[in-house]
């Protein structure tokens, strides 16, 4: 049994890794979509678009891996969370459709470029907002019921249960956070007025993101599930105390690095803020996968399924990571003003 327990925990970490990889990687390119209207038509927008053109599609593949991995390793969680957040999931998927094709169509059909630019922004905002609200919906808890006919447990709430002030707050927080990643990415990858623009936006977004993180953290203990037990009692407090302290430290160094004109450090610190937020979520949720109803072990696929996948993942995942790193390395440095299209 101890062996099975380990396997399921390993899978929880693999899924968490895939989700984190998706959030930060698609996060900065969704963020550029969110910020697109703030950049001037022409060279500024073209630079911004070109800076993510080589990587956005690979970034989004992690979303398929996260969804597919959840389906495979924790089918019960997949079957509860997706219906519980149904309209958000559909909105996210449609947002990603608009945004994905806008990438291509704006170059092919220059007469309608303005239209595809709007599709790019709206699709990005909708996808980011939906993802943030899905997070809030999971944190605030979903109604489930025991159901043998449904394979153990089933979602038992209504189709708009997810819509609360808290989920709106997490939605806005993710939009702001993605925009922060986008702005700091652009500070690194573009030049001229576009870069100056990005730095100004990054300052404002840094403040908004930190405020949103504080607000979500402050609201979380008041949700139905007593998260504060985990946060403020031993041994959880050993983990929870360093996180906000590190966030404060990261916040200070973020603004300092921007003020000093650093190009790479602000992006790295923004990634660090996401990692801290992610760690905070992990402390809050683990070992539940549907707080506070279903643990990872209750939702787990049988050992035989998890083991079969683990063999392939252990072999193939390093190759994927190597390729992804190589792709980013190939397109290192400033994107240049001439673009690639």
């Amino acid at each position: 049994m101890a062996y099975n327990l380990d396997l399921t925990t390993i899978w929880a970490f693999i899924i968490a890794f895939a989700v984190f990889a998706y959030v930060v990687m698609d996060g900065f390119d969704l963020g550029i979509g969110i910020l697109f209207p703030f950049f001037a038509v022409g060279e500024e927008r073209d630079q911004a678009m070109n800076s993510i053109a080589p990587v956005w599609d690979g970034n989004e593949t992690w979303l398929v891996l996260g969804g597919g991995g959840l389906f495979a390793a924790f089918p019960l969680a997949y079957g509860i969370i997706l219906p519980a957040t149904y309209p958000l999931m559909i909105a996210m998927l449609l947002g990603l459709v608009f945004r994905g094709v806008a990438f291509e169509f704006r170059w092919r059909d220059t007469r309608h470029r303005a239209l595809w630019d709007v599709a790019f922004t709206v699709g990005s905002v909708v996808a980011a907002m939906a993802q943030g609200m899905i997070l809030g919906a999971i944190l605030q808890g979903v109604t489930v019921t025991r159901s043998v006919a449904a394979g153990g447990w089933a979602y038992a709430g209504n189709w708009l249960d997810w819509l609360t002030p808290f989920s709106l707050l997490t939605g806005l927080g993710v939009v702001a956070g993605y925009a922060l990643l986008g702005a700091t990415w652009l500070n690194w990858k573009v030049e001229g007025t576009a870069q100056a623009h990005a730095v100004r936006l990054a300052r404002v977004l840094g403040i908004i993101t930190l405020v949103a993180m504080a607000a979500v953290s402050a609201a979380t203990p008041f949700l139905d599930y007593a998260y504060w037990h985990r946060w403020f009692e031993m041994p959880g407090i050993l983990l929870t105390v360093p996180v906000p302290l590190l966030v404060v430290a990261f916040g200070f160094s973020f603004f300092k690095s921007l003020a000093l004109g650093s190009e790479r450090l602000p992006f790295a610190i923004a990634l660090g803020l996401f990692l801290l937020g992610f760690a905070g979520l992990g402390i809050s949720i683990f070992p539940y996968i549907v707080p506070d109803q279903i643990t990872i072990w209750e939702a787990a696929a049988p050992e035989k399924s998890q083991l079969f996948m683990l063999v392939g993942t252990v072999v193939i995942m390093p190759v994927i990571i190597a390729y992804t790193g190589w792709a980013y390395w190939v397109f290192r440095g400033k994107v240049g003003t001439h673009g690639y299209h």
């Binding site: 053109a53 080589p54 990587v55 599609d57 989004e60 593949t61 398929v64 891996l65 969804g67 597919g68 991995g69 389906f71 390793a73 089918p75 997949y78 079957g79 509860i80 997706l82 219906p83 149904y86 999931m89 559909i90 998927l93 449609l94 990603l96 459709v97 608009f98 994905g100 094709v101 291509e104 169509f105 170059w107 092919r108 059909d109 220059t110 007469r111 043998v148 006919a149 449904a150 153990g152 089933a154 979602y155 038992a156 209504n158 696929a301 049988p302 399924s305 079969f308 996948m309 993942t313 193939i316 190759v319 994927i320 792709a327 190939v330 397109f331 001439h338 673009g339 690639y340 299209h341």
Partner: protein, 475 residues
């Protein structure tokens, strides 16, 4: 609730089925083209490397731009599919996840990342990595599309002919025995062969139609001649193979899913002394007979049992609530088979023209090839409808009813999302299809450009040149 109350009269399961059918049909169009096209591109580049003739390189670059657009639409419509299982079919997901989840996870790991990894080099890397390595990249992308088809058709086949499973206390399907038993379930080899060949045939018809279009305008265009000739060889060789593969797939279905065959054949009644082949007619489910049937006596027994007098059971042996919808399956099957024979006819016509040395000079053949251009897609969708609707009323054949597989969702939620998908898909993929047709309308010529000069896209899709003639920015 006045607005949403309108939707309450609809059955959420029916709405969810329409939504899945709609999104998967739209999605299926793109890979059914890109699987064949990736292989065609590998052949073109291989021939260029072998012969050194520039016509192959120019054709490669011409079709590469089109491939990029098709692949893009396949990616975005595919992401939707990977979430549709959970959003609309959560009980199915919970119950089959332990078996189908790993197969789909392997598809992501072995196929999607392989395609993403080498597509960039294929699209932009000719000048960066050298010819042989570039050819290897093209082959890898083609291999990726094939691996992807293999996994997803294994998943689909398991839903049709489930093997290698046990059912646990929660009613979940869990693996029992070897994973090879699950992956290589009884209908998988036939379905894989039939689908991949269909993709090749679909591609050859599109390439043939584009070649024919440009031949009608200028029959001396060497690029149009080359692509038309290659496409017609492919159609002539593959159409008969496909009919054979379809026949074998049908025999496999008879063995494992007899009710589907009964619906395809329109056999409401059992025929103890040889069943007729109903060519046409109108299925009348209320009276359980085919009205106005045009039939060949005993031919169905001959085809399916290789014996004129072999008895064949009909739908009267199946409980009414376990029958697939007969009319849809009956008609979609005839559309597929009819188009299949039309494709064979086109292939034979091209052989006749070739033997008379009139392949490039027979406008009737070219017009016919243009008319047949989109029929591969129609046949693919019709075949898909035949096999999927024929699987009803189950999601996992004989094991899990469709009516017990769906998510606990209210009708308004599903109805609103269905409408959103319809509007967005027609708008977005309509625009994409228009861009594709514009690309195909441009005559292939010497010195076709590579997608962009600078290899910007690694895992994505290259932009083709702007369609309205705006110059591309200089390097």
């Amino acid at each position: 609730m006045g607005q949403t109350a309108v939707f309450d009269q609809f059955d959420p399961v029916v709405l969810a089925r329409i939504q899945f059918a709609f999104t998967v049909s739209f999605h299926f169009i793109f890979p059914s083209f890109s699987i064949g096209l990736a292989s065609y591109l590998a052949v073109l580049e291989g021939l260029w490397l072998k012969t050194g003739k520039s016509v192959y390189l120019d054709l490669f670059r011409y079709w590469l731009k089109i491939f990029a657009v098709v692949f893009a639409m396949g990616v975005v419509s595919g992401i939707v599919m990977s979430y549709q299982f959970g959003t609309n079919w959560s009980v199915f997901s919970v119950k089959t996840g332990p078996i189908l989840g790993p197969l789909m996870a392997y598809e992501v790991l072995t196929a999607f990342f392989l395609e993403a990894g080498f597509l960039g080099v294929m699209l932009f890397g000719m000048s960066k990595v050298g010819r042989r390595l570039h050819f290897a990249a093209t082959c890898m992308v083609a291999l990726g599309t094939f691996i992807s088809a293999t996994w997803i058709l294994s998943v689909n086949s398991w839903m049709q002919t489930p093997t290698g499973f046990a059912i646990n206390a929660n009613g979940q399907f869990v693996p029992a025995g070897s994973w090879l038993t699950i992956i290589f379930n009884p209908s998988f080899p036939y379905r894989l062969a039939h689908t991949v060949i269909a993709s090749y045939l679909t591609t050859s018809l599109v390439v043939g139609a584009v070649g024919a279009w440009h031949l009608l305008k200028d029959r001396t265009n060497p690029y149009a001649r080359k692509m038309f000739s290659m496409a017609m060889w492919m159609a002539a060789l593959v159409a008969p193979v496909q009919i054979l593969a379809g026949d074998m797939h049908g025999l496999n279905t008879l063995e494992h899913q007899p009710a589907k065959i009964m619906a395809m054949e329109g056999h409401y009644q059992s025929h103890p002394e040889g069943a007729p082949l109903i060519l046409f007619g109108i299925p009348n489910s209320a009276e359980k007979r085919v009205d106005y049937a045009v039939e060949v006596p005993k031919a169905s027994s001959l085809i399916l049992k290789h014996d004129l007098d072999a008895p064949m059971a009909g739908l009267d042996t199946i409980p009414d609530d376990r029958e697939p919808p007969v009319a849809i399956v009956f008609w979609s099957f005839r559309v597929m088979v009819g188009l299949g024979f039309a494709m064979l006819g086109l292939g034979l016509f091209s052989l006749l023209a070739r033997s008379r040395r009139a392949l490039y000079d027979w406008p009737l053949l070219h017009r016919l090839a243009i008319a047949m251009g989109p029929t591969g897609f129609v046949a693919v969708i019709a075949g898909w409808v035949t096999t999927e609707v024929g699987r009803q009323p189950y999601t996992v054949y004989g094991q899990l009813l469709t009516g017990q597989s769906h998510s606990p969702l209210a009708a308004p939620a599903v109805a609103v999302s269905l409408m959103a998908f319809v509007v967005v898909y027609f708008a977005v993929f309509g625009a994409g299809t228009w861009y594709l047709l514009k690309l195909m309308g441009q005559p292939p010529h010497a010195g076709e450009t590579e997608p962009p000069q600078n290899p910007i896209r690694t895992a994505g899709i290259t932009p083709a040149p702007a369609l309205d003639g705006a110059p591309e920015p200089a390097e």
